[in-house]
């Protein structure tokens, strides 16, 4: 139903690698794509980002390959990391999956998020949660100062650097910290997948979206409480999920978890000081 509209593209697919399947080629192609992606979830923990340890390349894989458009179906090895198909396993989620993961991230004490997503971590959530955070931060900063300036009839200029600054903060935090953690965990020989860590950290930032919205309340005490609760929830979420993973790795797990917890609280503090602090 969905792809039969795209006759132009489907015809290309058919002429590319499928020897003339009869009438509804689009639907067959879609089924194969999805079953393929679900059959081979990225479960190994090494070399996530390069995509070198992707799903085994069999007949189904080449069948689904033309989805990514122009790239050659016979590519292999290192060059595969430049194709879209290499990253498709990390975006293999439905709307309901993403909503459920977001819901999990709001209940930090369950600590089952990393188990649930271990076999199918996604990067969709982290990327768009960060983007939404950048947008919410920038727009709240805008509107808050805009309204207060208009009320006082003052000249008002929007500081466009606010956008770039908050983008750097959110994207930077949600990539650099998991990357460092990945290396640290490798050093302590309790390896965890890089994509799993990115997924965990990305979803842990979700709670800051409603927190930023609540920071419009003009009372200092409310802002502190909101920032504190959000930071505590986010930090607990990350720490508890990693504790499940780390507690098998020896007695040093406590320090790592504590460091992770404090780092997340520090992020909340930075947000409180710079973003929640939009006074006139």
């Amino acid at each position: 139903m969905m792809s039969s509209n795209y006759t132009a593209i489907d015809n290309e697919n058919v002429s590319g690698s499928v020897p003339a399947v009869a009438d509804p080629p689009g639907q067959v192609a879609v089924k194969f794509t999805e079953s393929n992606l679900q059959t081979f979830p990225p479960s190994s923990s090494q070399g996530k980002i390069s995509g070198a340890s992707g799903p085994p390349r069999d007949a189904d894989d080449t069948f689904s390959k033309p989805v990514s458009g122009s790239d050659e179906p016979q590519q292999s090895g290192w060059f595969r990391s430049f194709t879209i198909a290499a990253y498709q396993p990390y975006f293999d989620v439905d709307t309901s999956d993403v909503l459920e993961r977001i819901k999990d991230s709001l209940f930090p004490f369950a600590g089952s998020f990393s188990e649930k997503t271990a076999s199918n971590p996604d990067l969709y959530g982290p990327f768009w949660i960060c983007s939404t955070l950048v947008f919410v931060a920038a727009s709240i900063g805008t509107f808050f100062t805009y309204i207060t300036h208009k009320l006082q009839n003052k000249e008002w200029n929007y500081d466009i650097n606010f956008v770039t600054w908050s983008a750097g903060l959110f994207y930077g935090y949600s990539t650099i910290v998991p990357l460092c953690l990945f290396l640290v965990l490798k050093y302590f020989s309790a390896p965890s997948g890089l994509v799993q860590l990115l997924c965990l950290y990305g979803y842990s930032l979700f709670v800051f979206i409603p927190a930023l919205c609540l920071s419009l309340v003009p009372w200092e005490i409310v802002r502190w409480v909101v920032a504190g609760v959000a930071g505590f929830m986010s930090a607990t979420f990350v720490a508890l999920n990693l504790k499940h993973h780390l507690s098998s790795a020896g007695e040093r797990w406590f320090f790592i978890v504590a460091a992770i917890f404090l780092l997340q609280l520090a992020l909340a503090l930075v947000l409180r000081v710079y973003l929640f602090n939009l006074t006139v």
Partner: protein, 180 residues
């Protein structure tokens, strides 16, 4: 056509490109019978239209900014250009069936209502009028992008493909309102 593009006058080439932009714009942004399947409608895609719309929007925003004009243009242009690429990649990564440049082209054409809105906002400096104009432009842009984005992916992922598009258009709308 009797002769090729090499020997024809420049004006003819420009005129042909312009008329193609206008016809593509009609196909994407205005109601027409092909809206159910814009992938088919926009077979003859081009990147000139999106380029003009993005540059025009960036220039309108930087003209209306009173300070840091060049920075405003840089951020707006980067946001729009990178945004179109990222939105297209998002659909491809979700397993959607689209052609990369066709999608870029279509997303660029969908900026046309926001262009119009930004232009009106530049001429009239009235907060309420601005909010109304931007809301109308946002609804129009999202309406134009909806059929293409929703048919490209499987129904269970429709919201995942549409949310980023709406997010980007809302961001642009906020920028239009904010910068004066």
């Amino acid at each position: 056509m009797s002769h090729g593009a090499l020997t024809e006058p420049v004006w003819d080439t420009v005129k042909r490109d312009l008329s193609r932009i206008v016809s593509n714009l009609k196909l994407v942004v205005f109601p027409n019978p092909y809206r159910e399947d814009p992938g088919k409608a926009l077979r003859d895609w081009d990147l000139w239209g999106p380029f003009f719309f993005i540059v025009f929007l960036g220039l309108t925003l930087s003209w209306s900014a009173s300070v840091k004009k060049s920075e405003v243009f840089a951020v707006a242009f980067a946001l729009l250009a990178a945004g179109a690429v990222i939105l297209t990649l998002n659909v491809l990564l979700l397993g959607g069936h689209i052609i990369f440049f066709q999608s870029l082209s279509l997303l660029g054409y969908c900026l046309f209502p926001l262009d119009v809105g930004a232009f009106i906002c530049m001429l009239k400096d009235n907060v309420i009028l601005k909010v109304v104009v931007v809301c109308v432009a946002l609804a129009w842009s999202s309406w134009a992008a909806y059929p293409f984005m929703s048919t490209a992916v499987s129904p269970r992922r429709k919201a995942l493909a549409l949310y980023p598009v709406v997010l980007m258009y809302v961001t642009v709308g906020f920028l239009i309102i904010a910068i004066d």
